[in-house]
Subunit: 121 residues, 2 copies
Amino acid sequence: MTGVNPETIRYYETQGLMPAPPRSGGGHRLYGQSHVKRLSFIRRCRELGFNLDEIRGLLELVDGGAYTCSEVLDQTRDHIADIRSKIRDLRKMERSLLDMASQCSGKDVPDCPIVEKLWNA
Amino acid sequence: MTGVNPETIRYYETQGLMPAPPRSGGGHRLYGQSHVKRLSFIRRCRELGFNLDEIRGLLELVDGGAYTCSEVLDQTRDHIADIRSKIRDLRKMERSLLDMASQCSGKDVPDCPIVEKLWNA
DNA sequence: TTTAATACCTGTAGCAACTACAGGTTCAAG
DNA sequence: CTTGAACCTGTAGTTGCTACAGGTATTAAA
């Protein structure tokens, strides 16, 4: 239903993100609507790049019930800053690589300027 | 000299990226200029986001001595594509987060629209 | 020349966030 | 009632390191 692997769900249980659900007589986990919602929440957070610790924090806010916009927005802003920093790093890599690639003929010749640059920078 | 942790260098040795260097009588590793160069190469590749497998590939090309521009450029282009794909993913996250954040007052009030959206999307 | 501080040595375990088994049990459909 | 799938627990693997523990080597100063 959520597109999350069963093993991942059980992993979330060990990590305290998902509650231990009731079991059938034979020991199978019996999930209800609330589990589906919670797991979907976790999945959406993961898709937005939150790590499990951050998600745990968000869940604690929600579970506590007494969260405020300001708390949530602070976390969100921090996370946006993280993402931007990652983007900056990647763009820097991209620029360097494009720069090196532009010096390279790409032909069937030895002594590539890319290798040269990496080796002797 | 290279800014790489000793433990990381030894790790690279176990992973076949760095050769086993000669040892002193007492068993200490004795590195020479060639090791410094190779390690610097690895470090620069890491900074450009290549993983150890890709670096192993590049080193094999270089060690073989018979590499061509076309081989190196192919690898580089693949890697640029990877980086761009990561950037796209991050920008998508950023957009979603900014969108959600813009709906949130950030004040000391309950019922945050960010949580609402994550919980009920 | 001794000694003390530092840097090295090996081997193992830990981090994140899962994934992939092995070896066994339970469930649901036919 | 059987059979095949999905579940169960527990452990080990993935990536790229980092952090010990417990011991040895080196080196600079006294």
